[in-house]
Amino acid sequence: MLKVRLIPCLDVKDGRVVKGVQFLDLVDAGDPVEAAKAYDAAGADELCFLDITASHEARGILFDVVRRTAEACFMPLTVGGGVRTVADIRNLLLAGADKVSINTAAVSNPDFVREAAEKFGSQCIVVAIDAKKVSGEGEPDRWEIFTHGGRKATGIDAIAFARQVADLGAGELLLTSMDRDGTKGGYDLALVRAIADAVTVPVIASGGVGNLDHLVDGVREGHASAVLAASIFHFGTHTIGEAKDYMAAAGLMMRRDPQTRV
C-alpha cells in the first residue's frame, strides 16, 4: 500500500540553510548537505530545498549543493525557488534534483508548466501554489494566489489555478497557506481539502505546522498525499521518527523502513 509521505523542507540562501538546523550530531548546522544527510538517515520520505537566494550570480552555488546532496542521499529531492526557464529545470535535474518546483513562473505564464512537463515529464514538475484566504467572515471560502512571498495579490482563484496547472501537466502540487506559514497554528485544512479534492494529482500540504497533530490533520482532514514541515524538525522539537510513529499511531499508513546497509 502507498504510504503517506513526510517531507522536511530546508530554506537555502547562498548555499547555506537559513534559520539553521539543530541536530545533535550535525557538524555544520548551516550546511544543507549535512542537514540532508541527517534527514536521509532519519528516514525522511523526500527532501525539499527551497532556494531563496536573491542574486542570480549566487545561483551556481545551489547546483553544487544539489549535486553534493544527490551524491549522498538516495531519496527523492525536490528543488524550488527562482525556476523560470527550461534551462533552469535542466540544470537542476542534471545536478541531481528529481523534481523541480515552479512558483512565480507558473503564475505569470501557465504555459511554462505545459512546456516543462512535455520536455521533462510530469513526474518531475511540481507547481508550488502560495494561497491566501480572501473571503470575509460569513462568506463562502475563497483563496487567491499570491506571489512575492505573499505580498503580491494576483486576483487568481487558487482552486481554478490548481486545476489549470494540473491539466497542463504538473505531476504534483505543493500547496502553502500564506496565512498559516510560520504561525505554528496548523495547515489551512479547508484550503488543503478544497484543492486536494479538486485535482487528480497528489497535493503536498505546507505552511503552519507546529505540532504532530497538524501533520495527521493535513492527511485526514485535508486529504493531502504528503505533508511538509520545516521548523518542527529543524529546531529539534520532533524527529522524523517521532512524527512517523505518531502519524502511524493515529492510523495513517507510514513507511518505517530500517535504514540498513547493503
Binding site: A70, F74, M75, D98, Q123
Partner: protein
Amino acid sequence: MSVAIVDYGSGNLHSAAKAFERAAREAGLDQPIRVTSDPAIVAAADRIVLPGVGAFADCRRGLDAVPGMVEALTRTVREGGRPFLGICVGMQLMASRGLEHVTTAGLDWIAGDVKAIVPSDPSLKIPHMGWNNLRQHHPHPLLDGIATGEDGLHAYFVHSYALDVRDPEDLVASVDYGGPVTALVARDNMVGTQFHPEKSQALGLRLIANFMRWRP
C-alpha cells in the same frame, strides 16, 4: 567488471551513477560505473543499465537518436545474455509497445503493453507517487535479502503508466494501488524495475548490489 549506464538524454544519470558507486563500495565490489552514450562501450560492459524518465515515446525517440545503441543493446542483451537492468521508463521500453498518448514500439523483450494506471478507487491520485511495498510473485536473485510484503521494505515509485505483462512468469513483483501494478519484471538475463532503486534508500542499494553480483 564494469557497469555501463546508458545515456540517451533521459534520466537522472547523476543520481543513478552515484547510487551504483555507493552500492558497489558498500558491497565490496570492484565495478567501475560508466555513464555513456557510446554503443561500443555499452557492448563491452559486463552489465548494462537503462534508466529513463518522462514519456515513453520521447524516451524511445531519444534511444533511437543515438546511432547504433538499439542494435548494441539487442546484440549484447537480448542475444548475448549480458545482465541488464531497466529502470522506470527504461524498464517500460523492454515491453512490446507503449500506449502513452500514442502507440510506440518498445524493444519487445518482455511481452506486454505499457498502459495508463486505472485504480479501482477513483480517489487514488495519479501519478502513483511515493513509497509502496512489493508483493513478490516469484523468487528472483535481485530481491535476495529484501523483505517484501506489507511488513517489508518500500520502493519509491513515480509513474502514471505501467507494464501489463502478457506472461505471468515475467512478473516478479507488483504493488497494490487500487489493484495490482507491475513493479518488477524479469526474463532470463533481463530485469526491469518500475520503481527507482537509486531513490529507494535501503531497498534500492541492496537491489543494485544484488544486480552487480547477479550471474544469470
